[in-house]
């Protein structure tokens, strides 16, 4: 018995999924076939995920003797003929709803991701790995075409809807010829021409894939940048070869950040760990290897000087020009948003002066005022803005005199000392403490929070004062570190600390805003 061909289209709001459904109905109409489409838009058009459902009858009206098929409004799980989607995670979601099956369903999906808010807002890397999503498509489709629709759109200057139509047409799913589809897209406007270009690219790609029976396009991703910087030979000789690429980068970064002497300090620090680890049976020296990255990043801590340097580089100007697609003949103005406060300025001053400045600001806050800060929009394109950035960047030579520099070195030493002691005691614990270097990043309060968390782990989870049994410390540190990366307020961290028998973090002093409430005073 002939049944309608059923297609589920998945798109994100604003991508033209509705237009695509209309096109398909029109194609069917022009080819003389019964077809019906429906959708559940609601507010999903506001960038959420939504679906469109279509049924096309495989026989034309001319063969139906005036009878009309009854077409459905809902997709049937496992009996869907095609699932066409503009986003990889949404493809997997619909397959997870049970819609696609490997005895029936053709899956045409974009390989690219539009990240969900939940993935984006995580403090570290919350992105869903793509491997399992692709595995799901492979396991639950009769055949599939996974392609980089985003780049096809870019090449042709059109919306993803035209590309999806090309994919459907190229797959041979529907009993229509290429000219049927193109007739619907055609028009005099430039957007119609772009649609036709996008359609053609996807049509040809899918046709080629069918001919070669090769269904996942191997998207050419730029190879991971190879460490260009060579490590000085005498340094390299001291460390296992596996560490050289990363150390080379780190070394170069620190020379650029503060000078060769500072880079040498980095090497010395790593050597200490290497010797602490020398008795370990593991010849890959995991503790040193883990520390390589985090130590370099901590030593090259971000401050105003570093930011001013990065922002004033020529390479950065070129990057921005490209990103905003400024063309020849356009005038480009770039304003950098800065808001230095007292801590940022104090960081550059020697300890004594810094303390005075900080005390002044604390007094301001105690009087109910906001902490002092200066919101700036620095005009990078203008001489004045550029000059001030360069002046700031040139403060590099004075950096070691600043209070922040001193404070960071003390903390780094405490961390390294902790790793060293721990490694001699148990290499596993040393490794976990080294991994805690991940907690240190960013500016201002983010940076402060990271340092507080790391110190708390160093002082309360391991070390002589710890209440956690030594045998459990390595695992405790690992769990607590992961918890520290979960939320800004540190609720997960406190919970994890208590779970492992360590004290929660001390409550921080915070200015209190009193609200008068006469209802409370009446009684």
């Amino acid at each position: 018995m002939t049944q309608p061909i059923s297609i589920l289209l998945c798109a994100l709001g604003g991508e033209g999924g509705g237009v695509l459904a209309d096109w398909l109905v029109d194609v069917a109409r022009h080819a003389g076939h019964p077809a019906q489409a429906t959708s559940i838009p609601g507010v999903a058009q506001r960038t959420g995920a939504t679906t469109y459902y279509l049924e096309v009858y495989p026989l034309p009206h001319s063969q139906l003797q005036g009878r009309l098929p009854v077409l459905g409004l809902n997709p049937l799980p496992g009996r869907l003929d095609a699932l066409v989607s503009s986003e990889l995670l949404e493809t997997a979601r619909q397959i997870g709803n049970g819609l696609a099956s490997n005895d029936r369903t053709l899956v045409i999906s974009a390989s690219s991701r539009a990240l969900t808010t939940a993935e984006k807002m995580t403090m570290g890397d919350g992105r869903r790995p793509e491997g399992p999503l692709l595995d799901v498509i492979a396991a639950h489709s009769q055949r599939h075409h996974v392609m980089d629709m985003a780049s096809l759109c870019q090449q042709s200057g059109t919306m993803v809807s035209a590309v999806m139509l090309g994919g459907i047409a190229g797959s041979g799913l529907l009993p229509f010829t290429r000219s049927h589809y193109e007739a619907v897209l055609a028009g005099p406007s430039s957007s119609a021409k772009a649609s036709l270009r996008g359609f053609a690219l996807a049509f040809e790609l899918v046709t080629r894939q069918r001919e070669q029976a090769q269904y996942v396009e191997h998207v050419m991703k730029p190879a991971a940048p190879v460490a260009a910087a060579a490590l000085p030979a005498e340094v390299g000789a001291k460390f296992p070869a596996a560490l050289h690429p990363l150390m080379g980068l780190a070394h170069q970064r620190l020379v650029e950040y503060q000078g060769p002497a500072y880079a040498h300090l980095y090497v010395q620090r790593l050597e200490r760990l290497l010797s602490a680890e020398s008795n370990s049976p593991d010849s890959t020296r995991p503790v040193t290897a883990e520390t390589t990255r985090w130590l370099a990043l901590w030593m090259a801590f971000d401050d105003i000087i570093r930011v001013a340097d990065l922002k004033s580089r020529a390479s950065r100007w070129d990057r921005v020009t490209q990103e905003v697609k400024a063309k020849e003949g356009d005038v480009l103005k770039v304003y950098d948003h800065f808001k230095p406060g007292v801590p940022e300025l104090a960081a550059l001053l020697p300890q004594g002066l810094a303390n005075k400045l900080l005390r002044w600001d604390r007094a301001r806050v105690a009087n109910g005022k906001a902490p002092w800060s200066m919101p700036l929009k620095v005009a990078r394109h203008a001489l004045s803005g550029m000059a001030s950035l360069r002046v700031l960047a040139s403060l590099r030579v004075l950096r070691p005199l600043g209070s922040r520099y001193q404070a960071e070195q003390t903390l780094i030493e405490e961390w390294l000392g902790g790793i060293e002691t721990a490694t001699r005691l148990s290499p596993a614990l040393g490794l976990e403490l080294a991994r805690c270097g991940q907690l240190i990043k960013g500016y201002g309060s983010t940076n402060e929070r990271g340092k507080d968390n790391l110190l708390h782990i160093l002082r309360h989870v391991c070390g002589p004062a710890s209440a956690v049994p030594v045998a459990e410390q390595a695992e405790a540190v690992a769990r607590i570190r992961q918890a520290a990366l979960q939320d800004e307020a540190g609720q997960a961290l406190d919970q994890a600390l208590l779970q492992h028998g360590a004290p929660a973090r001390p409550v921080k002093a915070q200015p209190v805003l009193w609200m008068k409430n006469p209802r409370l005073q009446k009684s």
Binding site: V25, G98, P225, R293, E323, K325
Partner: protein
Amino acid sequence: MEVSFHEEIKALRMGAGEVFHGEGILAITKGLLQSGVSYVGGYQGAPVSHLLDVMVQAKPYMDELGVHVEACSNEASAAAMLGASIHYPIRGAVTWKSIVGTNVAADALSNLSSPGVTGGVLIVVGEDYGEGASVIQERTHAYALKSGMCLLDPRPELGQMVNMVEHGFRLSEASNMPVMMELRIRACHVRGQFVAKDNQAPKLSKKHLIDEPAGFNYMRLAHPPVTFAQEKRKVEHRLPAARQYIAEQRLNEHFEGSTHRHLGLIVQGGLYNTLMRTLQQFDLADAFGVTSLSVLVLNVTYPLVPGELVNFCKDKSAVLLLEEGQPEYIEQELALMLRRLDLQTPLHGKDMLPSGGEYTAEVMAQGLLKFLDRHQADAVPEATRQWLATNGERRQQVQSLLGSPLPARPPSMCIGCPERPVFSALKLAQQDVGPVHISGDIGCHALATFEPFSVGHSILGYGMSLASRAGVSPLMKRRVLSVMGDGGFWHNGLLTGVQSALFNGDDAVLLIFKNGYTSATGTQDIINTPTDIAKELAGDKRQSMVHTNQTIESTLKGLGVQWLRTVHTYEVSHMQATLTEAFTTEFQGLKVIVAEGECQLERQRRIKPWLASLLSKGKRVERVKYGVDEDVCNGDHACIRLSGCPTLTLKDNPDPLKVDPVATVIDGCVGCGLCGENAHAATLCPSFYRAEVVQNPKLHERLWARWQGLATRWLQPA
């Protein structure tokens, strides 16, 4: 309006024999004109917004026909409009989203149903039930039952839907009952075709006015003592008349089965197509609706015609009733009919089908499998059993491949939405004053209940946020914030919220989003929408125009609001300070913050053609985009937790030393400025920049830029 209905308006003019192609709800609209409707009203809401939107945009054609179209301020005012048909032989139609809208309209509907109507009345409701619905469990059916209105539930085929519109008016006139037509979401948006008829210009209309008002007739008032007489008429006259019309005109369709004609299926019209797809999976129907089992399609689900149902059931060995939603009103009534006549035909329904939720083909198939297993087990092909069994297995397999559930992707505020900055400011203000109880409302701002804001303790109804605080705020130490859109304010909030708070002298904080439109339903105009003249006169079309219409402010002042602040939403620091002030001020009465910023969808509709025309003339155009410096970004993503803008996303860290992905601004950024405002207000990392690209710059501008370029290049390192 966000959408232009140019093509659809052309389709409304179609004459006899022409083939209409389009959406279900537009076919219904065409059906109204074919029925000679005199007046149309309604309140927007998915999935029926297009009905009214098209009619509003088609004003010149409606004037030609003499049809009056009114965009009502809420569903109650739309329902009250139908009062015109009580005395006069004029046909009227109104539309809204049910069940929420029907709840709002309930008072007028009761008082309309009691005296009954002279002219035909059709209420087209979008039955927002199941997937994606806000109030998922309630049925419009209950209103038809309690008020005594007919309820149509047509088979979702355009020809049949239009046919039922025409019958609906005649049914209403034959029975004096108001008639409701319920359309499920997928039926409203179904794209199909039907052969049009000529439109009928109404006999009484804006072009042919009623000469004299009707004479006084107490029977037309829903007022004692005549209400009992009206009640009697409902039972003794109107319902029988309706049943007679339904039976005579064969509004319900009976399809005799072939092989298994002794088994009967009774189905609501709206579910017919899904039932056919289900039967096809059992090889019990072909693609054209020819079935092995007998099927009775109820295109009218209230009132039921006992004769029809009993005739259908009496020679069946078993009957399955497919009725979506609960309680099972039809099933109860049918069971009673059979019991009274002592008919022993086994009746199945909710014993084999779930009581709640949408009846998709899979759900129906599972019910049908139980039914057939009981009464005709040999009619179930093995492949069908297997199909139903493997669906669950497949879902589990995917789940185990994926590990954990996939992150949801709910809708979010548009790129450049003026409401997003307010929630950033609210998040920051709470860092100073502590967490506050936030009573939310319906509208785009309800999208702030999703990540990254996760804001809002309750949503009690449209325009109800201020009213729903009245029990909380007197018992709460800190002040409570009520958030409302201007749409909600005019729909209901002004009276239930503002007036009540003022009258009771409540200590309350209200934030009104003044974006100029009811945006969530498709940016329909309201009383504080900026006028076309104001938009025309603006030199820079990019600026928000909502400040040009002060209706909200003058209304609030007129009512006696003493603490009133207007803040542009994009001034995050200012908004943060204003919120903090409202939460902490000594002033004890109602405090209102008007958050001003025009709906981005409307602004873009104005800006795009304007900029395109400037560019085509070679004139100077300035374009703004924000960006993140990848080598400065710290990978903490605090900016995303404070914004959630779709164009602010992540990419791999280009620095091989760092591991966390960095923030990036992708194409589509409209340069709204929130990134920069947040960077300052929240002291985010210094990685944000604002880029202004000047196309077709003036000569002096170009020369100056070239000079600056030379100078900065001299200073910059590689």
